[in-house]
Every structure is written in C-alpha cells, then in structure tokens.
Amino acid sequence: MSTLTKVLIVLLTIASIFLCGIVVTYVASEVNYKQKYENQLSSYQAAKKNEDNAKTQLNNTIEEKGRDTEKLGEQIASLEEQINKLKSDLANAERNRDLANRKVNDWVAIVKDFSKTIENNEKLTKDALTERDLKEAELIKQDKELKDTTAALMENMAIVKQLQEGSKRLLEEKTELQNKLDQYLRQYGKAIAEPMPVTPDRGAVSLAPPTKDIDLNGSITEIDLKNLLAEISIGTADGVKEGMRFHLTRGDKFICDIVILDVWPEKAVGWIELLQDQPRDQPKIDDKVSTNL
C-alpha cells in the first residue's frame, strides 16, 4: 500500500469523523418542528375556539345591548312624555301661582279696605250706642210720661164713666118727669114745648180748607216680609215724612200699604199693612209706591 493511500485513508477517516460530528451536533441541536407545529396547531385551535366563543358572546352581548337599547329608548320616550307632562303641569302651577299671588294682593287690599271700614263702623257703632243710650233715656222718660198719661187717662175714663152714669140717671129722671108733666098737662089740653138746650148754640159749622194731593211716587228697593218692612227709593229730599202712607200697586192691582217709620235723604223704611194672603200678591222689589191711587 502506498504512502499516499495511507495518508488518504487517515485524512478520509478524520474528515468522516469531523463531518459526522458536525452532522450529529446539528441534528441533535435541531428544533423539533413537528412538536412545535403541533403545539402551534393546538394553540391555533384553542385560539379559534376562543374566537368562536368570543364571537358568540359578542353576538349575545350585541343582542342584549340591542334589547337594552330598545328598552332604554322606550324608557326615554316615556320619560320624555313625563317630562312634557311635568312641564305642562309646571306651567299650570306657575299660572295658578300667579293667579294666587294676584288674588292674595287683591285680598290684602280688600282686607285693608275692610280694616278701614271696620274702624269707621266701630266709630259709627260707638256713636250709635251713645245715641241709643240717649234715646233709651228719652224713651224711659217718655215711658214714664206715658204711664203718667195712662194713669190720668184711666182717671178721666173713670170720671167720664161716672158722668155717663150720672147723665143716664138724669136722662131717666128727665124722662120720668116729662111723662109726669105730660100726664099733668094733658089734663089741661096742653103739650110740652120743645126744650131749649142749656148750652148756647155755636152757630154754623165752618168748612175745612180744601186739600190737595201730595202725589209722591217711588219704587220698592228692598223688602223683608218676615218683619213686614219695606224700603222705598224716595226720602226726605223728595218730601217723605214719618207717618206717611204709601199705596203699593202692581199695574192696576192694589198690593198693600206702607206706613213710613224712618226717613233718610234718599230712602225711607216703612211698615207693611193690608198685606194679601195670596203669594202672587206679595210685594216685590221694583213695585211702584205712591201716596195717591
């Protein structure tokens, strides 16, 4: 065997060992792509499954959101209706509040006027009470005078009664005496002459002066049938006086009479007399009154 062959054998062996070492090192250190592929494939399938689940959840979520959106839309619509209703209620409430404020202001003014009126009325009431006390004192005085007058009248009535009895007795005595005198004179054919009154004759009676109609006309302004009182539209300015009698007529029909009790410048109040029983003949407001029929 030649030397070259030997050298080549040695070199071939060294190169073979070297290359085999490189190949073994490379193959041993190479990545296992199949396992990596399987891992990636399983990861991909898991990811795809997760994607499907996520899509399903997304669709469910989208459907729920759609339903929630519809519900919220309905709630928004109902709330808008409520808002509009509340706005209209608010406007009504504000309008009522303004009216109430206006009424309050009016009532405040009315109350002030009433306060002034009450003060005036209190003053008038005090004056009226004072006047009433004076009138009561005068009335008591007049009552006392009336009692005295009544007592005097009773005494006079008793005297008149006694005088009437005396006059009756004298008349009977006169008749008896006259009968006796007639019987006595008849025997002699004579008759008694007409007796002459002891009191002198006063002569012819003079005529009363001619009268004229007062001719006042008015109408009924108020009437109180319970107390039989009526108010007429004319007073002292027209010549009405206490005690005057007015005739109340409706058309050509007589209703009743009114006797005046109190008189003011523009009106007068009187007592109703000769009232009819039928309801249609009761006096009413605006019926005509006059002093002459």
């Binding site: 054998i9 073979s16 085999c20 190949v23 073994v24």
Partner: protein
C-alpha cells in the same frame, strides 16, 4: 499484510491492517451518524425520507 518488523535497514511501518481498522472505524462512525440521523428523522417526523 501482516505487521512484520523490518529489522534490517528498513523503516518501521504500520501494518496494513491498521489502516483497515481506521477505515472500519470511519465506516462505523459514518454508519452510526446515518442511524442517528435516521432515528431523529423518524422520531420527529415519523418518516425517514418522505416529506409530508
């Protein structure tokens, strides 16, 4: 090719069987490498030559 010692004026040389052994070792190394590569291919790709 037996290893014969050249005792008389000749150089000492290795017997030819030595080179045969060297060649056998190299062959075994290459064979072992091929087997290892085949084993790796089979375990990783479940085939030796076929491309999936």
């Amino acid at each position: 090719m037996s290893p014969v010692v050249q005792s008389r004026g000749k150089k000492i040389t290795a017997a030819d069987n030595l080179y045969t052994v060297i060649l056998a070792v190299a062959f075994c190394v290459v064979l072992a490498t091929a087997v290892f590569v085949a084993y790796q291919c089979y375990t990783q790709y479940e085939t030796i030559f076929k491309i999936q």
